[in-house]
């Protein structure tokens, strides 16, 4: 209701601005004329003459010229005095009283949205869950805002950091891991998580900064697998392949047979040419790997299939499409991912907003045209 009150007040002010001069008789003296300008010009000549800037004959010439203009201006000035036309003033007043509000309402109503609430940052920070979509991103944003106010909440940082990393916001993730370290204390795991985020931010390169973190983690716990793996990677990227091989071999030697990261280390080892691996027979490794991966793949495939069918029936869900494309990409099936993205574009082609959202999402997935 207050909004309409403000509108009414503003309208009244606007109408008042039109009516104000109509009520007055109009002060005629409140204006200038050519005559005044020329008189000023004449006075100026005298001043210049006094200051010695021009000589007497020139001043005289100019005086004559201006005098002519002055005469002309005075002569052309119509003798008719300003008059007042009551009829027209009334018409103008009616125009202001009726026309102005009509135009204002007529233009505003189709354009404005007087019912919508404001949604400033301050209010968001109060954490109002006013029925908006609680997507992952929104949740993350809320947690971030909470942490901005309570930066010492170590548990919060602990929760947020891996989520940020999964969302691809590596720089933010690194900062979150740092904060987690500060407020939760040192641990090898946190150090190596931080290192991982740092190298992810650098596009997979184990930078000097990241390496330092892994070294600290290694110092804290010599067996931390992530630290060891990345130190090996750092060695590989520095061109010290032999060091990489020995680090990874040592890691595999100590690793439990069913460690989920085993295949990763083995393939890395194979890449740097550290080929054959000791400790476990190849068959066992292959079996455990196949087991785990086969199971997981079957499950994932099922889920993806279901998602794809759902989207075929109802293609409006941009988030769904993006998830599908991401899933195909993760499964290494680029062709399908490309296919799905063009399907998605067709499905939302009629809706500019969704299309934009989709294209942006696809871009972050690296699939833009």
């Amino acid at each position: 209701m207050t909004l309409w009150f403000v509108f009414a007040l503003m309208t009244v002010a606007a109408i008042f601005a039109v009516l104000l001069p109509l009520g007055r008789s109009g002060r005629v003296q409140d204006q200038g004329s050519e005559v005044a300008v020329y008189k000023d010009q004449l006075a100026e000549i005298e001043r210049d003459l006094g200051a010695g800037l021009i000589a007497a004959p020139e001043a005289e010439a100019a005086r004559v010229e201006i005098g002519r203009r002055l005469l002309a201006a005075a002569g052309s000035k119509p003798a008719v005095e300003p008059k007042s036309s009551l009829k027209w003033r009334r018409a103008a007043a009616v125009l202001a009283l009726v026309g102005l509000p009509l135009v204002a309402i007529g233009v505003y109503m189709p354009l404005g949205s007087p019912r919508l609430q404001a949604f400033p940052l301050a209010q968001r920070e109060r954490g109002s869950g006013s029925g908006m979509a609680q997507s992952l991103e929104n949740l993350v944003a809320q947690v971030e805002q909470h942490l901005e106010k309570n930066p010492t909440d170590g548990r919060g940082w602990n929760v947020l950091a891996p989520v940020l990393e999964r969302l691809g916001r590596f720089d933010d993730a690194a900062r979150a891991f740092r904060n987690s370290l500060t407020y939760n204390g040192e641990s090898a795991e946190r150090r190596s998580d931080l290192g991982e985020a740092l190298s992810a931010a650098a596009g997979g390169v184990v930078t000097a900064e990241a390496k330092a973190e892994f070294e600290r983690a290694h110092a804290l716990s010599a067996d931390d697998p992530k630290a060891n793996y990345f130190l090996g990677l750092a060695a590989e990227q520095d061109g010290r392949k032999d060091d990489a091989v020995s680090i990874w071999r040592a890691l595999l030697a100590k690793a439990p047979a069913d460690a989920p990261w085993r295949p990763l280390v083995q393939s890395s080892l194979a890449r740097v040419g550290g080929g054959a691996m000791p400790a476990l027979s190849d068959e066992t490794v292959a079996a455990s790997k196949d087991m785990a991966e086969g199971d997981r793949n079957a499950m994932v495939r099922g889920m993806v299939e279901r998602l794809a069918t759902r989207l075929k029936q109802n293609g409006d869900d941009v988030e769904g499409w993006l998830r599908l494309v991401r899933a195909y990409l993760v499964m290494g099936d680029r062709d399908k991912a490309v296919g799905a993205s063009s399907d998605a574009r067709q499905a939302v082609a009629n809706d500019a907003d969704r299309l934009r959202q989709l294209n942006e999402g696809l871009k972050t997935l690296g699939l833009d045209g």
């Binding site: 039109v18 200038g32 300008v37 010439a61 404005g112 919508l116």
Partner: protein, 660 residues
């Protein structure tokens, strides 16, 4: 609440503008003072409401209210406060709101300070002003409404384009708009004069301060924009002959011509029809610039997003105002009382030459801007018209103009003595020639034209100095008299001298920078040293740093000369996560008027980084010149005394001439 109130205030401004477009005209026809005075109060109320609307948008941006689409699309809650504010005009909708706010500001100024105008002229001027305002309010409300809302607001905004997150954006567009839009006043005056069918020397006297004000802002705005491009785009260019830059240069050229022709009209009551035409053309070119930037017909780093509806709408406004005003001009111009003719060798004659060269130079720029568009539409092939074209066309015309600049202020009104002036300019000419000789001897490499151009610059500055020396009688008269005369000298004379000297200064800067700038582009490793123009630039190392809404990689360079360390320079590359884009922040080291300029390229895997280092001799003069010009404009504007054209003492015994 804030959003909707701002929105409604804008609508009310439209309603007021509509009343202001009609009622004062009826009043002027009936000679009814009250009806004519409606123009003043509505103009002031309009300013109030548009101002409120603009403030509302600023508050929405500051509060990061993402229920407003414009805020969501161009802001981010983590953005620093300064850029939350400047981001208001960093996008199409907001900048249009700024545009109309400034239009209303000028209307309000005329209403508030136009007491020296005849009432009917003031009513006409404000009514025309309201026509323009109504058209643009409608444009904003219909096609580019900044107050549109989002029903289910997103939690985070999409951030402002990183290139725009810079202090330059805080100043450059408002300045430029003050210039562009300021010319609407002279346009309104011209239309009002045509409608009243009456035009005389006093008209020029009234319109000149407004034109001058607009010109000052436009001069500063262009210079600011150029400097911003220079340090922000990262490759040291400061003028690209980009269509949008041309769009700001053209009103400047026409506006400069207008300033000078209004002078002739004020003092000698001549060139009246031409001055009216120039007023119309200047604002038309401003409108054309608005159209070019916002319609998407041109490819440019400056162009806003393309939207056909907007383009068509602005094109309609453009046709309406340019077409309408030119037809009115064609219909009425012949019935206006013609001014007198005058001798070719005189102050008036020199100003006509100035006008001729400026308008022709402006036409050349217009041609270069529109020709590729026309060819694409008519002949269906694409081309670009760039610096080489303008160097061959615009430069010679401007050189000719500059050659004539020192003569203008020294010639007397009515009939001048060219020979006498030439003799008095001898010293300036000799200074120019000496400069040519020095530049020739000093310079290694570069165009042979460069020393000549420097000589020309020195000549222009010398001419400005000579003018002041002549007027004060320095050298010839005792010092006390000189002081007295200097004090009595109108400020507009000082203004002229400063503005003209500014031209020369800018010219010297442009020539030095383009001819003798040296560059070094290479990949540098840590501790590697680059040698450029006598400086040793050593890469100390690379660092990462987290900014408020970006992450940056900083390279630290140690700059020394002859073994003595001068400074540390830290160019950086910022990457903005929200938009996924990056900007290059160049580092500048100023030594006198020259600058060392470092910007970064990509880092390689081995920890080396691509680097561009430029040494730009006297580059700052390019912007000091316009600042000097604007300062001259301010001096002239502060000269409230009304001057008339009195002939100077000539050699022969002065003979009275009938005034024309």
């Amino acid at each position: 609440m804030i959003a909707e109130s701002g929105h409604y205030a804008l609508v009310l401004a439209l309603a007021l503008a509509l009343i202001q477009s009609v009622v004062p005209l009826i009043g002027a026809r009936l000679r009814d003072a009250a009806l004519m005075n409606v123009a003043r109060s509505t103009a002031l109320a309009q300013l109030l409401f548009v101002g409120a609307s603009f403030v509302a948008l600023v508050m929405l941006h500051v509060n990061s209210d993402f229920s407003v689409a414009n805020v969501y699309e161009n802001s981010h809650s983590m953005k620093p406060l300064l850029y939350k504010i400047t981001g208001v005009w960093g996008n199409h909708e907001g900048s249009m709101l700024l545009w109309v706010s400034i239009l209303a500001l000028f209307g309000g100024l005329v209403a508030a300070f136009g007491n020296n105008l005849p009432m009917s002229l003031r009513a006409h001027v404000l009514a025309v002003q309201a026509w323009i305002a109504s058209a643009f309010y409608l444009f904003i409300l219909v096609t580019s409404n900044p107050f549109l809302r989002i029903a289910s607001p997103p939690i985070e905004g999409r951030d402002l384009n990183p290139v725009l997150q810079d202090i330059g954006l805080a100043v450059h567009p408002p300045m430029l708009y003050l210039g562009y839009v300021g010319f609407s006043i002279s346009f309104s005056f011209a239309i009002a004069a045509l409608m009243e069918g009456r035009i005389d020397a006093a008209w020029a006297r009234w319109v000149r301060p407004w034109t001058l004000m607009a010109w000052i802002f436009l001069t500063l705005g262009i210079a600011m924009g150029s400097y911003w491009a220079y340090y922000e785009l990262g490759w040291g260019g400061w003028w690209f002959w980009d269509p949008v830059e041309n769009a700001s240069l053209m009103p400047w050229l026409a506006g400069t011509a207008l300033l000078h022709s209004a002078l002739v009209m004020e003092k000698r009551n001549a060139l009246k029809v031409w001055t009216i035409l120039l007023s119309i053309l200047t604002f038309s070119l401003s409108l054309l610039g608005t159209f070019l930037v916002r319609s998407g017909v041109i490819t440019s780093v400056h162009a806003f997003a393309t939207d056909p509806t907007r383009g068509v709408f602005i094109l309609l406004i453009l046709c309406l105002f340019i077409g309408g005003s030119l037809s009115l001009f064609a219909g009425r111009a012949t019935s206006l009382k013609q001014g007198g003719l005058f001798a070719p060798i005189s102050r008036e004659g020199a100003l006509v030459l100035n006008n001729l060269l400026l308008t022709v130079a402006c036409a050349v720029v217009l041609f270069g801007t529109l020709y590729p568009l026309a060819m694409e539409m008519l002949a269906d092939f694409k081309m670009s018209v760039g610096a080489p074209f303008y160097n061959l066309t615009f430069a010679p015309l401007f050189a000719l103009l500059l050659l004539a600049v020192p003569f203008g202020p020294m010639l007397a009104w009515k009939r001048g003595d060219l020979l006498g002036v030439t003799q008095r300019l001898l010293a300036a000419g000799v200074a120019g020639l000496v400069a040519v000789a020095i530049a020739w001897g000093w310079a290694t490499g570069g165009s042979t034209l460069a020393p000549l151009a420097i000589g020309l610059g020195v000549f222009v500055i010398g001419g400005a100095v000579t003018d002041i020396v002549e007027r004060t009688g320095l050298v010839r008269l005792p010092f006390a008299t000189v002081l007295h005369r200097a004090r009595g000298l109108p400020r507009s004379a000082w203004g002229t001298a400063f503005a003209h000297a500014g031209l020369g200064v800018a010219l010297i800067g442009i020539v030095c920078e383009t001819t003798w700038n040296s560059e070094y582009i290479a990949t540098m490793k840590q501790s590697e040293v680059a040698h450029i123009a006598g400086y040793d630039v050593k890469l100390d190392g690379l660092f990462q740093r987290q900014g408020p809404n970006y992450r940056e990689m900083i390279a630290e360079f140690n700059v020394s000369r002859d073994g003595e360390t001068l400074s540390v320079m830290t160019p950086s590359k910022r990457s903005f996560t929200t938009r996924g884009s990056s900007t290059t922040e160049a580092a500048l080291l100023t030594r006198g008027a020259s600058q060392l300029y470092i910007s970064l390229g990509d880092a390689t895997a081995e920890g080396a980084i691509a680097v561009r280092i430029y040494h730009k001799p006297l580059v700052l003069l390019i912007w000091w010149g316009p600042v000097l010009m604007a300062f001259g404009g301010v001096l002239s504007l502060s000269d409230r005394r009304l001057r008339v054209g009195a002939p100077k003492p000539a050699r022969a015994k002065p003979r009275l001439q009938p005034a024309e």
